[in-house]
Symmetry: C2
Subunit: 259 residues, 2 copies
Amino acid sequence: MVCASDRKMVAILLLRHSPYQNHLLAALSAEVFERIEPHLEFVAMPLGDVLYESGGQLQHVYFPTTAIISLHYILENGASSEIAGVGNEGVLGVSLFMGGNTTPSRASVSTGGHGYRLKQRLMMDEFNRAEHMMRLMLRYTQALITQMSQTAVCNRHHSVEQQLCRWLLLTLDRLPTNELTLTQELIASMLGVRREGITDAAGNLQRAGMISYRRGHITVLNRIGLEKHACECYGVVKKELCRLLPETGKTHHAERFSK
Amino acid sequence: MVCASDRKMVAILLLRHSPYQNHLLAALSAEVFERIEPHLEFVAMPLGDVLYESGGQLQHVYFPTTAIISLHYILENGASSEIAGVGNEGVLGVSLFMGGNTTPSRASVSTGGHGYRLKQRLMMDEFNRAEHMMRLMLRYTQALITQMSQTAVCNRHHSVEQQLCRWLLLTLDRLPTNELTLTQELIASMLGVRREGITDAAGNLQRAGMISYRRGHITVLNRIGLEKHACECYGVVKKELCRLLPETGKTHHAERFSK
DNA sequence: AAGACTCTGTTCGATAACGCACATAGAGGG
DNA sequence: CCCTCTATGTGCGTTATCGAACAGAGTCTT
C-alpha cells in the first residue's frame, strides 16, 4: 500500500484527477486526509451548473480541482454581479461550517471542469473534531472575505477595463493553461456590466498585445502587462491568499506575489 | 451578590453603560460571560479614532455599545469606500479569530461613543475553549460576509440615492435615536462618492419629507418611506443578521424584517 | 454545404456621476 | 457680537457607462 504523500506525487506527475489538485485538500494533514478521502466524491461540474441557489440548503461542500465556481448575487430586477470566485485554491460552501448553512447568493460553474465534494455531515464532523481542518477552513474564509471586500471597492472606483484585467488574472491563476474558454457575454455578467463594455475593454487589451481572442476563447499573451494594467485589487487579493494559506503552495503563475 | 441576568435588567432599565448593550456580549451564556467580564475594558471611541490600520496587528477585539465603527478600504490613490460597518450588533476584529490576525482595511470610528474591548489572548482562549463563543463569532462573521457582498453588488447597480437610504437605515439600526450626527462629507467618504452627490440625494430625501437635516445633523422622519426608497440591499443584510443571530434580539426599529 | 444561431463589433443618444469653481449660510471661538 | 471656519448649495462642462438597435462573422447542426 502506498502512503498519502506517495499518492500525491504520483497524481501530480501523471496529471490525473486527484483530490490533491485542490489546494485546501492538499494542505490537510495526512491523518485528516486519510479519514475523509473515502468520502470524497468525484463530480463533474459542467459550465452553467447551479450548485446552489440563493437561500437553499447546502448538502455538500465542494472542492473544485479544474472547475471554477462563481458566487454571484442576483438582484430583484435580474441584474447580477459576481461577488467572489472559487477555484482549486478554495472550497464552496463556507456558510455550512460558519453556522449559517445558507447564503443569499447563487453558486454556478463559470468554467467547466471537475471537483470533489463532501457531505455536509462529514464536513461538520471533521470541522468540529479536527483542529487542523477548522483552522484551515477559517483562514480560507478570511481570504474569501478579502476577495469580497476588494470586489466592493473595485466596483466603485475602477474602470471596466481595469476590472477585466483583475478578473482575467484571478481566473488565470486557477487554470493550468493561459487560455480561458468563455464568451464576452459571460464575463460581462460576472462583472455586472454590459457586454459592449467588455467588447470595448477586450479590444483595447488586444490592440495593446496583452491578450488575443476569438469567439469564446481568450488567450493571455502578456501576463506582466495585464498585471500592470490591472488595478491594485488583484495584487491585494493574491497576496492575502498567499499570506493566509502559504501551505497551499504557489499558483501556476504570479510568483511576484508569493513573497 | 446579584446574578448576571439581574445585572442585565438593571443596566437596561437605567440605560447606563453596560456590556449588555452589545448584542453579541448579551447573547453569551452566563458561564462564558462571567468568565470574560472582569477582562472587558470599557473604552471611549471618539469620532475619527483609528482602531486599526490596514495590515497592522490586532491587540484587541472591540464590542461597540454606542459607537459605530466603519471598516473601509483605502486605495493607493487615496480614494476609499466603506466595506462594512460594525455597531452594537457586532464585533470588530474577526480576522483575529479567523486566523489571519490582520486585514487589508482600516477601522475607524464613524459615530463617536463607547464600547468594550478584550485582549487578543483572552479572546482566543475563549474562542478555543468555549464552543458557544466560537459558534456565535462564526455566525456573526457570516452576517458580516453578507454585508460585504451586498456592498459589492450595491456599489455596482444602485444609485447614490438608494445607497444613501441603505446606509442611513443600517446606521439608524445601531443607534438609540433617530438622529445621526455627521456631515455630508463624511457620508460621502463612507459610500465612496462625491460630497455633492450626497447633497443632491439628501436634498431629494428632504423634499420628499423622509429626512430633515441641518449642518452635521440628520433626522429621520419617515423610516418606512426610507425603506421603500432604499434598494433591496438593506433588507437582505438586515434579514440575514436576524436569521443568523436571533438571540441578539431585535433592533430598535425594523420589526418588519425580524420575521 | 447551407442555414441557423450565437457571438462580436459599432453606432447613437441618454443618463449618472465626476471634477471644479464659487456662492451662501450656520456654528463656534474670541 | 463679530469673525472665521467649515458645511452646504449650485452651476457649469466632462466622462464613463448604459440601453437599444443592428451589421458582420464564426461555429455548429443538419
